[in-house]
């Protein structure tokens, strides 16, 4: 019978669950880690709920970085942000691999688990990279900058930290419309909340800059080199929904 581990949906929570499985020597192949709000109970299940605990998280994090390195840990984190089904199962197995192979895990190209986790991480990292450039802020009547997006993966955290560094002098809000999450920055720190009913109005000044940008965007294209296919290849349509210049 499968042992089911429930966690709170956060990366920290997941790693704590993994910590218990690893440290208690529980057989990973008869284990399922699943987020609390995605779990559909069946009464024959053997369920255990794991609390998110910072100390435990830091411990397993340290262990992973010691066994491999920072880049491997980052890969694990990015893979966790992926919207792949059963990502927990792949990452759990990957963690066991790290314990066995250490740094060498980076070179196990032919292993399916390693490959899948790597692909998930790469996909997430690529999406983060795209959104660093493709998020558009507007100026609201409430005096802060506001941007919305609908990423495929759950990347609001890394995105928010990127803009914390970049737009450090402004108040801003980034809104993941699909997941109803917001990141709020008050010129000191970022907070992550769920979002209820935002009512905002764009300023006149902002409308002017939107127009300037749209016109500029048009003026930059060289007619003789027109290549819409290439444009789409670099900037797939799913990014266009909130992109000023494409609307």
């Amino acid at each position: 019978m499968y042992k089911i581990f429930l966690y709170d949906g956060t990366f920290e929570g997941f790693m704590c669950a993994a910590f218990h499985i690893i440290s208690e020597g529980i057989d990973k192949d008869s284990t399922i880690i699943v987020s609390k709000n995605e779990y559909q109970p069946m009464f024959i299940d053997n369920v255990r709920e794991v609390q998110s605990d910072l100390k435990t998280f830091l411990e397993i994090r340290k262990e992973m970085i010691k066994k491999a390195d920072n880049s491997v840990f980052k890969r694990i984190y990015y893979a966790f942000l992926s919207d792949t089904k059963d990502k927990e199962g792949y990452i759990l197995r990957y963690l066991f691999y790290v314990l066995v192979h250490g740094k060498k895990i980076k070179y196990l190209y032919s292993d399916d688990i390693v490959n899948t986790v790597e692909k998930m991480a790469k996909n997430v990292s690529r999406e983060i990279g795209k959104y660093m450039g493709l998020i558009r802020f507007c100026e609201t009547d409430k005096g802060f900058l506001y941007a919305k997006f609908e990423p495929k993966n759950d990347i609001i955290k890394p995105i928010a930290y990127f803009f914390k560094n970049r737009l450090n002098e402004f108040y801003w809000v980034i809104h993941d419309v699909k997941r109803n999450k917001v990141a709020i920055y008050d010129r000191k720190k970022v907070q992550f909340l769920t979002c209820d009913n935002l009512k905002l109005k764009v300023t006149h000044q902002d409308e002017m800059f939107q127009m300037l940008w749209k016109n500029y965007f048009k003026a930059m294209a060289i007619e003789e080199r027109k290549n819409l296919k290439l444009q789409q290849q670099n900037m797939p349509k799913r990014y266009w929904k909130y992109l000023l210049e494409k609307n």
Partner: protein, 415 residues
């Protein structure tokens, strides 16, 4: 003229400049607005598929010079406009905070005098850095004939500076740019190289330049040879190639119906080979008048001419040998070296490491075996035929168009 109109005129006038990368800056961060990101960030892609990373504008398009290939030349009857430093600074900050752009790319025609123009560029950048405490990426042109002192002052505020070399030979320059001389371009270039070597925060992201392709009869060898020289002697970070878009009807310019985009693409690939793969221009070309093969990429072209160096045994070859195999890039070569320590590699492993077997299979063996039994004794012509893109074979007369359909890597030229 209002700012909307100015931006339209002076943005459009800057679009032919292709060097818009925003990467590689190591300038120290201060307090204030923004940051640079060392990998560079694209903020949009135009309808022609080129990345927009920076607000790319001319300070003015009113020019006292008369270069034959240039839309802004004195003798053209076009709409003219000039920004003020304040206007550009304002646009930059407002575009930046909305995350439309990564920074500013400021170029200019030459109005009044080279020094007047350079002074305006300096003032714009000064406003951004000091009044607005702007930390984003700034690329400024150094204007030919401008005083070195002005260039120096500007360079301390910019991430990157560039002087456009425009044409690959003195003869072409004389023909098309009667007002510019070789020295007017090379002198500031050399100066920037020198100061950058001595001073820490001077053009932290280095120097680049741009060349126009296809407006003159200069061969690809000449172009790549010049680039090689620029990389070595002036330590340039990048040379950009811009397929000439016919904007003027001038008898001195070679007739082109549409910009030679495929040729431009091949030049980027060849450039990549000399910059990253340690090829030399002399290895890639047989003679000074030679052009790159439009049908296959330059690495394949080179390999076919040097078949006696192949096949290469993947499990033993050195890194230098591996990266010269068509279809094996820097990344996959590194992976091969790290991996073959653990176990000897088969073709299946190579695929997973990112080797493009479609190209590589003619040039490698795995544990003594070739990919398919017969592959080893193919003739260069036959290999070439197999590697040539179908589209170009079917419609050789339309070479300048077919890239629209088969292009995948623009600008970087990575093979």
């Amino acid at each position: 003229m209002d700012i909307l109109e100015k931006l339209e005129v002076l943005g459009a006038a800057a679009k032919y400049d292709v060097s818009c990368a925003s990467s590689g800056s190591k300038r120290e961060k201060h307090f204030g607005i923004g940051s640079t990101f060392s990998a560079g960030i694209c903020h949009s892609w135009t309808d022609d598929g080129r990345c927009i990373s920076l607000l790319k504008v001319l300070f003015t398009n009113e020019c006292i010079f008369d270069c034959a290939y240039c839309i802004n030349r004195k003798s053209n009857d076009i709409k003219r406009a000039t920004f003020t430093p304040q206007e550009i600074a304002d646009l930059t900050i407002n575009f930046y905070k909305r995350n439309y752009i990564e920074g500013l790319f400021l170029s200019s025609a030459i109005k009044n005098s080279p020094d007047w123009t350079m002074e305006m560029l300096f003032r714009t950048v000064w406003l951004l850095r000091y009044k607005y405490q702007f930390n984003g990426y700034i690329h400024v042109k150094a204007i030919p004939y401008a005083s070195l002192d002005l260039i120096r002052k500007t360079g301390f505020l910019a991430d990157r500076m560039s002087v456009n070399i425009e044409l690959p030979s003195e003869k072409s320059l004389k023909l098309l740019c009667p007002n510019k001389t070789k020295e007017s371009i090379l002198k500031p270039m050399e100066f920037i190289t020198k100061v950058a070597e001595e001073e820490k925060n001077f053009v932290a992201a280095g120097q680049s330049t741009q060349m126009i392709i296809g407006a003159t009869d200069d061969s690809d060898y000449k172009i790549i040879n010049l680039s090689q020289h620029l990389y070595k002697k002036f330590k340039l970070k990048r040379v950009y190639y811009s397929a000439y878009t016919p904007v003027n009807n001038d008898p001195r310019i070679l007739k082109v119906e549409s910009p030679p985009l495929l040729r431009e693409h091949r030049l980027y690939q060849a450039d990549w080979l000399i910059r990253v793969y340690n090829f030399s221009a002399d290895e890639l070309f047989k003679s000074k008048d030679e052009n790159l093969d439009l049908e296959v990429d330059p690495k394949v072209m080179w390999a076919l001419r040097n078949l006696d160096r192949f096949p290469v045994e993947v499990n033993r070859a050195s890194y230098e040998q591996l990266i010269r195999v068509p279809g094996i890039g820097i990344k996959s070569a590194r992976r091969i070296i790290k991996n073959r320590v653990f176990h000897s590699l088969e073709f299946d492993d190579l695929k997973k490491m990112g080797v493009v077997l479609k190209r590589a299979k003619y040039f490698i063996t795995c544990n003594g075996k070739t990919f398919e039994r017969f592959l080893i004794d193919l003739e260069p012509e036959k290999i070439k035929q197999k590697l040539t893109d179908k589209n170009s074979l079917q419609r050789p007369q339309q070479l300048s168009f077919f890239d629209r359909e088969v292009f995948t890597s623009v600008i970087t030229g990575e093979i």
